[in-house]
């Protein structure tokens, strides 16, 4: 009975995506060839040695990120993904920025060849987005199969998300220096570290225990008798009242409400941030919609995965097709293999390492990475070693 409505929402979503990707681009960033041509030639720092072996993105003399290191780093990322989730995306970013030696190389061009500096920044952003986008695609598909994808809420989020995903690459591609990117990346690492830290506090832990106890208690109670007491008038989602400020609805007789502007603004900010930093917004959407917008988790998890997927598709499209950003594919290939290996190891080791100790480990890591990137980005030097 909902087929027609679902089709309408699906068509609306497709139109949104199409409209977003076909927005004509102005102010195109320089292509890789142009940026290399504009850079000063020579063997000094900040110059391109045309005689040297091609490295990252085929730039002569650039560091060639080792595929073996990329593979090993991705095992670590995959292990984190399969043990604590969201922090894996940050670690993928750390790999692209620091471990492969790209940040220091890119920074060398800040004054001599700003176009090349910014192109390297954009390439790092899009590399992260490919990894996040692929994972969001898989999760959206799984949620869809499970019937946990709520298209109307997805549309409200997608309106904001599409705007953020288009505007941010459009406004910032070719304009953000690697230094500023590092600083902002550092700040978001603090936010994620904060989330993880909360979960390790007595308050966060007791909430988790309470939830588990409540679920267990309900499971033991007389479920069938309770089902029979349902009133036909309570079935499904029923909107009780709505205005520009508040939508009140009941979901099987249980009351929920949200401000319709909130998902749109939230979608815009989160997708904009995710697009800017090249990370997924999933870890922000779920707490945002459950805590701030007050929506039930059932309506949130699948929908946020869909929103991240839509946002990433548009953002990657805008960077790569409209702005012509290049990425280094073999690195993504070995990273996928590494993530696969890491994700296989994760569930097997998590039996031996308590969840809370893993989170504490990642809080410490988040503090270190956050301090390093924020200070390097905004002050020009790191206050934690290596300086």
């Amino acid at each position: 009975m909902f087929h027609k409505t679902q089709k309408t929402w699906m068509v609306l979503l497709l139109v949104l995506i199409l409209a977003a990707v076909l927005i004509p681009a102005t102010g195109m960033a320089a292509s890789l060839e142009e940026a290399i041509a504009q850079a000063p030639k020579g063997a000094e720092a900040g110059q391109i040695d045309m005689q040297a072996e091609p490295g990252f993105l085929g730039i002569p003399g650039a560091p060639a990120p080792s595929l073996v290191i990329g593979f090993l780093w991705a095992i670590w990322v995959g292990w984190i993904f399969s043990t604590v989730g969201a922090f894996g995306g940050i670690m993928a970013g750390v790999g692209h920025i620091t471990v492969f030696g790209l940040a220091d190389y890119g920074k060398g061009f800040k004054k001599t060849a700003p176009a090349l500096n910014k192109l390297i920044t954009d390439s790092i952003r899009v590399s992260n987005q490919w990894l996040v986008g692929l994972s969001a695609a898989v999760s959206s598909f799984n949620y869809y199969k499970m019937g946990r994808l709520v298209l109307p809420l997805g549309i409200a989020l997608a309106i904001g998300s599409v705007a953020g995903s288009v505007l941010v690459p459009w406004l910032t591609a070719g304009k953000i220096s690697l230094k500023a990117y590092l600083g902002y990346f550092g700040l978001i690492v603090f936010v994620i570290g904060g989330f993880l830290f909360y979960e390790t506090t007595p308050r966060g832990q007791s909430k988790k225990k309470e939830a588990k106890a409540a679920a267990d208690a309900f499971e033991k109670s007389a479920i069938k008798g309770a089902e029979k007491s349902m009133d036909a008038s309570d079935m499904g989602v029923q909107v009780k009242s709505w205005s520009a400020k508040k939508v009140e609805f009941t979901f099987y007789g249980v009351e929920f409400s949200f401000n319709p502007i909130v998902p749109i603004i939230g979608g815009f900010c989160i997708a904009g941030l995710a697009s800017f930093l090249g990370i997924g917004g999933g870890f922000l959407f779920v707490p945002f919609l459950t805590s701030i917008a007050g929506l039930p988790m059932f309506l949130v998890a699948g929908t946020s995965a869909l929103t991240v997927f839509v946002g990433m598709v548009i953002s990657i499209f805008t960077y790569m097709v409209v702005q012509g950003v290049t990425i280094y594919w073999p690195l993504i290939g070995v990273e996928l293999i590494g993530i696969f290996v890491g994700s296989m190891i994760g569930p097997r080791t998590s039996k031996y390492i308590p969840d809370i100790w893993l989170k504490r480990l990642f809080v410490v890591l988040a503090l270190y990475v956050g301090l390093r990137y924020t200070t390097k980005g905004f002050l020009g030097y790191s206050i934690v070693p290596p300086f």
Binding site: L22, G58, A64, S66, L67, F81, S82, G85, L134, S135, V138, S139, N142, K145, M146, G147, E210, A211, K212, A213, A214, A215, A217, F218, E219, I223, A226, E227, S229, M230, A232, D234, M235, G236, F251, Y252, G253, V254, P296, M297, F298, A301, F317, M320, V321, T326, Y328, W329, P330, I332, G333, E335, L336, I337, I339, F340, S343, M344, G346, P347
Partner: protein
């Protein structure tokens, strides 16, 4: 990275041949890219099959846990017990998270050839833009490859069911579908009334 370049050089003759079979060149491009996408899909499916052999039990356990908590959350909803619904729903999401990452491992196993195929195309077609019917802008090789990859995946999923080597993943997909059937839906709650 020299070794990777050598691997690409070794395969180049084989991969580029279909691009030169037919005229006009744009048709040859789509034929060659379509075949490349098919190779990537098949290679990915084989790796994924190996991963499923290694992880079948884990996946089954996680699937059971997820279905149980999902159904509990819906029953709590039916009982108008908001507190129990939120709690069970939270647990269901945790269970889903674990199940999801187990499948992520499989997805990564099946997607890796895609990136290496794009790496080869980057060596061949970097900077070239292609017309796509109905679109006002020309597209780069990556997006055209992705379109071919999606089509090849759909095509291969039809054939895969008949190939004995993929029996394990076909059985596991069936189990996932059966579990999806076992999941209480809003319609079921309505029907139970």
């Amino acid at each position: 990275m020299e070794w990777l370049y050598q691997v690409y050089l070794f395969l180049d003759g084989f991969l580029i041949a279909p691009y030169r079979i037919v005229e006009p060149p744009i048709l040859g491009f789509y034929l060659g890219t379509g075949l490349l996408a098919l190779y990537a899909v098949v290679l990915g499916a084989l790796t994924s099959e190996a991963a499923i052999w290694a992880n079948a039990r884990n996946l089954e356990d996680q699937s059971h846990a997820m279905v149980r908590m999902h159904n509990l959350s819906f029953r709590a909803l039916a009982a108008k017990n908001k507190k129990a619904f939120k709690a069970a729903n939270h647990e269901a999401n945790d269970a889903f998270g674990k199940y999801f990452f187990a499948w992520m491992a499989n997805a990564a196993a099946s997607l890796w050839p895609l990136a290496f195929a794009l790496g080869w195309m980057q060596l061949r077609f970097q900077g070239v833009h292609f017309a796509f019917p109905g679109l006002p802008i020309d597209l780069g090789f990556a997006f055209l490859f992705l379109i071919c990859y999606i089509l090849a995946s759909i095509l291969f999923s039809k054939v895969k069911k008949r190939l004995p080597i993929f029996a394990k993943s076909v059985a596991l997909s069936k189990m996932a579908r059966d579990h999806a059937d076992e999941m209480v839906t809003l319609a079921d709650l309505q029907a139970s009334k």
